[in-house]
């Protein structure tokens, strides 16, 4: 019991630290294209993550999505009802025009690229939870297979 008295507050403090470090305020975004297996979003204001933007768009009834939580944040499994078929090795890939900002590389063409409306979007270095919204930048979600 005396050991528990020491351990439980310690675990509680650690949990509090983990939970207090969540994502920031929601960013503003608009949908440029929404087709089967493709979603293109443009940030209309700075701030928040792509996940926050997806949440805001979902709350506004403009899209639906689902996913699971993983080490790198939200892992998207379906957008607008289109599920990535794991039996066909499909997944939702993420591309963005957001390159390097404040010394942080948010995408890298070396991992792949996607052309949208004449703009080259590079494969994102982070998932939807880690990618920040920067005004004017484009974010492409598309189903791909490996």
């Amino acid at each position: 019991m005396s050991k528990l008295r020491f351990i439980l507050p310690f675990i509680a403090i650690i949990s509090l630290i983990f939970s207090s470090c969540g994502s920031e305020s929601a960013g503003s975004a608009k949908i440029l294209a929404a087709e089967d297996g493709l979603l293109v979003i443009e940030a209309t204001a700075d701030g928040g993550s792509l996940e926050d933007a997806l949440n805001a768009l979902s709350d506004a009834g403009e899209l639906t999505y689902s996913g699971s939580s993983g080490d790198y944040g939200l892992f998207l499994t379906a957008v607008n009802g289109r599920e990535a078929d794991l039996s066909k090795n499909e997944y939702w890939a993420l591309y963005t025009t957001l390159g390097e900002l404040d010394g942080v590389a948010y995408s890298n063409e070396e991992f792949g690229s996607y052309d949208y409306d004449g703009r080259v979007c590079a494969s994102a270095s982070y998932g939807v939870s880690g990618l920040i919204m920067v005004e004017g930048e484009i974010y492409v979600l598309t189903v791909e297979s490996y």
């Binding site: 351990i7 983990f18 993983g70 790198y72 404040d102 942080v104 070396e110 991992f111 990618l131 920040i132």
Partner: protein, 227 residues
């Protein structure tokens, strides 16, 4: 190797896969380190290496066969088994624990002050984690100085934290090499690895510190054939 020893290794490998799968839905939380450390400590390096190999291959049935990940797991868990198997035979002296803990604490503080180029979304989280790690390593170093009768616990906890860091560093080396990343891409991969490494290291240190003795007792009972 006797049939009983083989059977125990098979059960242990299955248990590790189950533990990894059960907690794979909770970000940053894993108990494989605590369970496998206690197993290698009690059953020794030979059983540990065999179990680590089986675990590394068996998990592919669930998590998929990704060559760089399989290589990483095989190398890492073999080294892990050798290290904890050796600690089970000869507990390292306190000064050796200090030699591992002080650089880890210093590195945590250095990166916390300097900052790591990760996504703005994760900056606060990474900074807090680094200070938490600094606190854990410093506390363990002080604990190692004043609680010498618990040197074994300090040693396995410190090594668990160190090995968790090594896992990510090994991944930072193996994956870019096998997938042919450029220097810039490898650097990006290295920094994004901190997001997962830090909570895993914190959790590995805390879980091993809390669970090592109960797991060691349970596994010693299995080894001695007690119910």
């Amino acid at each position: 190797m006797k049939p009983r020893e083989l059977a125990i290794c098979a059960v242990a490998a299955s248990l590790l896969v189950a533990v990894q799968l059960a907690l794979s839905f909770v970000a940053g939380v894993e108990l494989v380190t605590a369970v496998f450390a206690a197993f290698c400590y009690v059953f020794g390096a030979r059983s540990g290496v065999l179990t680590g190999l089986v675990f590394s291959l068996l998990r592919c049935l669930i998590f998929g066969f990704v060559p760089n990940v399989v290589l990483l797991y095989i190398l890492y868990y073999s080294l892990f088994a050798l290290v904890f198997g050796a600690v089970g035979r000869v507990c390292p002296p306190a000064w050796l624990c200090e030699a591992a803990l002080v650089p880890l604490a210093a590195a945590s503080a250095f990166f916390a002050v300097r900052g790591i180029p990760v996504s703005a979304v994760y900056k606060t989280r990474v900074s807090v984690m680094l200070w938490v790690l600094f606190g854990i390593f410093t506390s363990l170093a002080i604990f190692a100085l004043f609680a010498r009768e618990r040197g074994e616990l300090v040693a396995v906890t410190s090594l668990a934290a160190l090995m968790t860091v090594l896992f990510t560093l090994a991944d930072d080396l193996i994956t870019p090499l096998m997938l042919g990343y450029s220097r810039e891409a490898a650097a990006g991969y290295f920094y994004s690895g901190f997001i997962v490494m830090l909570p895993q290291t914190v959790f590995a240190a805390v879980s091993v510190f809390v669970l090592f003795y109960p797991l060691k007792r349970a596994m010693t009972a299995v080894k001695n054939g007690k119910r």
